[in-house]
């Protein structure tokens, strides 16, 4: 009957620390998630929103710099708005919400269209058909040094590093800035965090300068302000039929007029589409090769089998030793208090308080009481009367005895010890009725 009662607090003691840590971690994660801007909010990087995660200030800055901003709310509209005239920048604020089909089409736009994608994740990058390994996201955006000589890098450090884009051995040399968090591959610019574009972060580091210089390369900016997940095009063949023939043709042609800025990309759609298909194949080969790992091959299977059997024998031994023949029996201990516990406690308090006067007075009072009892004197006798009787019996000076029985103490421990010892010796001498020598 006693066991369940005992076991519960014990279990609680075991669980509580872990539970507290778990709750703290969970709370932190929840708060972090809540703090993160949500791309499906209408205000998120919207050119008209003055909210913290809006981008009204950026839009105003760009307008002041003479950039014409066309806001579009769906990808097909944005792609259509590119037209086939001047060079144009296309800002995709929420690449995660853009349908993969359109992402692929964005990557296939002619080089005169500079597509800036804000914090695309690995899905978006993969859908865009780029051979880029995406790592992240970090807990918060870091602000690395630019580390390159591009125009936009003049802005200095900016909070761009939340996602990192590792371009690996890309066929054409891509632009890699800000510790790989701002990467330009062909006509696509990927910025690793939304922070440089946001109203509330515009003034931190070189955020505003970076965003403005990224988006004001050309006189026209198409701003894709998309806040809900796009559906796939209803009839894939019909819409693609129209732009598809348009794209491959400008692709090879357009290299000449616009290759001043996108210096690295030669715009080769064919190898790009091959690349992602090749990549997963390699990965699966790597992942499936546990048996073929060098460690496994280093020893013959007999060694591994022996080791496994030894391990099993060890586990069996542990299991066999683990079960007890009945648990130990607990029993409450008897209550025992040291004798004179309160006396020692009080003595300790006197010592802590250095109450030398009080201690000596107590010892003297006790001595006087004993002497009064010894002489048969009334209980209200004064120090003088007692000293008189003692002096008469012992032949000591009355003044001296009075000082012993009622005097104060100098402010030192040695003095106290000496005075108290003298008092007790006096009492012993008187009571044993001997003439002792008292100094």
């Amino acid at each position: 009957m006693r066991m369940p009662r005992l076991r519960n607090p014990r279990r609680l003691r075991l669980i509580m620390p872990f539970a507290v840590v778990l709750v703290l971690v969970a709370l932190t994660v929840i708060v972090h998630v809540v703090q993160q801007p949500d791309p499906t909010d209408a205000s998120f990087l919207s050119p008209t929103s003055t909210a913290g995660d809006g981008a009204r200030r950026l839009a105003d800055d760009l307008t002041r710099d003479g950039v014409r901003i066309d806001v579009r709310s769906t990808s097909p509209e944005a792609i259509e708005a590119v037209g086939d005239g001047d060079a144009v920048t296309l800002l995709v604020t929420t690449p995660e919400l853009v349908n993969p089909y359109y992402l692929e089409r964005l990557a296939l736009l002619p080089p005169r269209v500079r597509v800036v994608m804000v914090a695309p994740g690995s899905d978006a990058v993969y859908a865009a058909g780029l051979d880029v390994v995406v790592t992240g996201p970090r807990w918060t955006a870091a602000a690395p040094q630019p580390g390159c000589t591009e125009d936009f890098a003049q802005a200095g450090p900016a909070a761009t590093l939340r996602w990192r884009y590792d371009t690996g051995d890309f066929r054409t040399e891509p632009v890699r800035c800000y510790s790989d968090s701002v990467v330009e591959v062909k006509n696509l610019t990927m910025v690793g965090a939304a922070d440089p574009f946001r109203n509330d972060r515009a003034d931190e580091y070189g955020n505003r300068a970076l965003a403005v210089s990224l988006l004001s390369r050309y006189g026209r900016l198409i701003w894709l302000d998309l806040h809900e997940r796009e559906k796939a095009p209803p009839e894939p063949t019909a819409p693609t039929a129209e732009p598809d023939p348009a794209e491959p043709t400008p692709d090879p042609d357009s290299t000449e007029p616009w290759d001043d800025d996108p210096s690295n990309d030669d715009g080769e759609p064919a190898p790009v589409t091959e690349d992602p298909s090749g990549q997963p194949g390699e990965q699966s080969n790597d992942g499936g090769g546990v048996a073929g790992s060098p460690l496994a091959q280093a020893f013959p299977p007999a060694v591994w089998a022996t080791l496994a059997l030894l391990l099993l024998a060890g586990i069996a031994l542990a299991l066999a030793s683990a079960r007890r023949l009945g648990t130990p029996v607990a029993e409450p201990l008897p209550v025992q208090v040291r004798a004179a516990e309160t006396v020692r406690g009080l003595g300790g308090l006197y010592r802590r308080a250095r109450a030398r006067g009080t201690s000596l007075a107590t010892v003297q009072a006790a001595a006087r009481t004993r002497l009064m009892v010894h002489f048969g004197m009334p209980a209200d006798s004064t120090v003088d009367e007692v000293a008189h009787r003692v002096a008469a019996q012992t032949g000591l000076q009355e003044n001296e005895v009075r000082h012993l029985l009622g005097g104060g103490v100098e402010d030192s421990d040695e003095e106290l010890a000496r005075a108290a010892s003298d008092v007790q010796r006096l009492v012993r001498t008187v009571i044993s009725n001997e003439r002792g020598d008292l100094t």
Binding site: L312, A320, P334, V337, R344, Y350, V363, A366
Partner: protein
């Protein structure tokens, strides 16, 4: 469940995969073989349901003595049984050889003996017999849950009676009792106030005792003999609160009180008085009253055995009101407590006036020699710490003196003696009252 022998079996199989081809297959084969053998062994092991346990032996014991109890194990299952069992008692029961290995054929029974040397008085229960039934190969065993083992364990409690060192004083005290009881011819007649019998005058009898009317009736000189009052009531009130936990010498104050109370109880029973017991701290812990003379003493001893000090302040209120309400007859109330200010002054004093008018009250307290020792400074090399301690001890002594004076003022007899003479002095106080006919 598997045994260590199972682990050994696996370990023996370790060289096989290294020496023969197809190592993994052999590993699996070794494991499967061992598991099959263990499963078979566990299946063949005798079921634990077929065990019956019976316990026998002493049920009471004086503290300091040694006794044995036996546990008879019977195999009622139809199979031979290899049994390992552990007979767990509470640690203070001082049980030795707790673990046993038995081999029982079907229907056979075997007796195991446990020697008990308890270290504390009170009830010392046998908590649990844990059984483990092995298979014939010793590879696996059956053992059931703790609750099951507790359920089949026969209930057994050893009542350890408190130490009674004052037993050796009993002959002396009984002799004293007999002297004034008149049973022993000393100075002619027994003392006391209660009329006993008339008998013929013999030379040496007190002439004041001659009953002239009876002499006239019988034509012979008759004397009255007297004897002490019988059938008086003695109530032992044991304080089991915090002051009873203090160690005087090697044992708590309560043990000294129990010893003295036992001596008093035995003595009073021999003198044909009725002895009641009341143990109180914050509540009433034991109450023994009424019942026949013969059975009273064992009941008293048995209830005292179960008492132990508790860290609570004693409240004498319930005990006192109990004595005032029920005690129609005048009684001798012996309160075993300590001369400490708090419980006495706050708890007992308010009711003392009413109590002393109705009953005769003795307060018995074991004196703690340590306080007196602390009050005395060492002859040589006393330090300031010693003086502080001495001052605290003097205060405690003075307080004890005050409490004592207060109690005596209220008409309470105070017995404040060191441990060695405590029980004797308490009995002497009782005998003196009895002799004087003042019970």
């Amino acid at each position: 469940m598997i045994t260590r022998r199972f682990a050994l079996l696996l370990a023996l199989g370790v060289p096989l995969p290294a020496l023969l081809p197809a190592p993994w297959l052999l590993t699996a084969a070794v494991l499967a073989l061992a598991l099959a053998a263990a499963a078979l062994d566990a299946a063949v092991a005798a079921p634990l349901n077929g065990v019956t346990l019976r316990r026998d032996g002493a049920e009471t014991l004086w503290l300091g003595a040694t006794t044995t109890t036996t546990l008879t194990v019977t195999n009622t299952s139809g199979r031979p049984m290899w049994l390992r069992l552990r007979d767990r008692w509470v640690p203070s029961a001082g049980a030795d050889n707790a673990e046993h290995r038995l081999r029982l054929l079907a229907g056979q029974e075997q007796t195991i003996t446990t020697t008990l040397t308890p270290t504390r008085h009170g009830d010392r229960p046998a908590v649990r017999v844990t059984l483990r039934s092995y298979g014939p190969l010793g590879l696996a065993y059956r053992q059931r849950r703790q609750r099951w083992n507790e359920a089949i364990t026969p209930e057994w409690t050893l009542r350890v009676l408190p130490r009674f060192p004052s037993r050796r004083l009993l002959p002396e005290k009984l002799a004293k009792l007999r002297i004034f009881d008149g049973a022993v011819v000393t100075r002619g007649r027994g003392q006391g106030t209660e009329f006993d019998v008339l008998r013929e005058y013999v030379v040496g009898d007190d002439v004041r005792s001659i009953d002239w009317r009876a002499s006239a009736r019988t034509h012979d000189v008759m004397v009255r003999t007297w004897r002490p009052e019988r059938d008086r009531r003695v109530v032992c009130v044991l304080d089991t609160g915090r002051t009873s936990a203090a160690r005087i010498g090697d044992e708590p104050r309560l043990d000294a009180a129990i010893d003295a109370a036992l001596l008093l109880a035995v003595l009073a029973s021999k003198a044909d008085d009725r002895v009641d017991l009341l143990a109180v701290d914050s509540q009433v812990r034991a109450r023994v009253e009424g019942g026949g003379h013969r059975t009273k003493l064992p009941r008293l001893i048995s209830s005292m055995a179960a008492l132990e000090p508790r860290l609570v302040e004693t409240d004498f209120g319930p005990a006192a009101s109990d004595l005032l309400r029920r005690g129609h007859k005048r009684a001798l109330v012996v309160i075993f407590s300590a001369l400490d200010a708090a419980p006495i002054v706050e708890g007992l004093l308010p009711m003392l006036a009413r109590l002393t008018t109705k009953h005769r009250v003795i307060l018995a307290s074991v004196r703690d020699p340590e306080t007196a020792q602390l009050a005395e400074l060492p002859g040589e090399g006393a330090s300031a710490d010693d003086v502080h301690l001495a001052a605290a001890a003097e205060l405690a002594l003075a307080e004890r003196g005050r409490v004592r004076a207060l109690l005596e003022q209220q008409g309470v007899m105070v017995v404040d003696e060191p441990r060695e003479t405590f029980a004797s002095k308490v009995s002497d106080a009782y005998l003196a009252l009895k002799a004087a006919g003042r019970l």
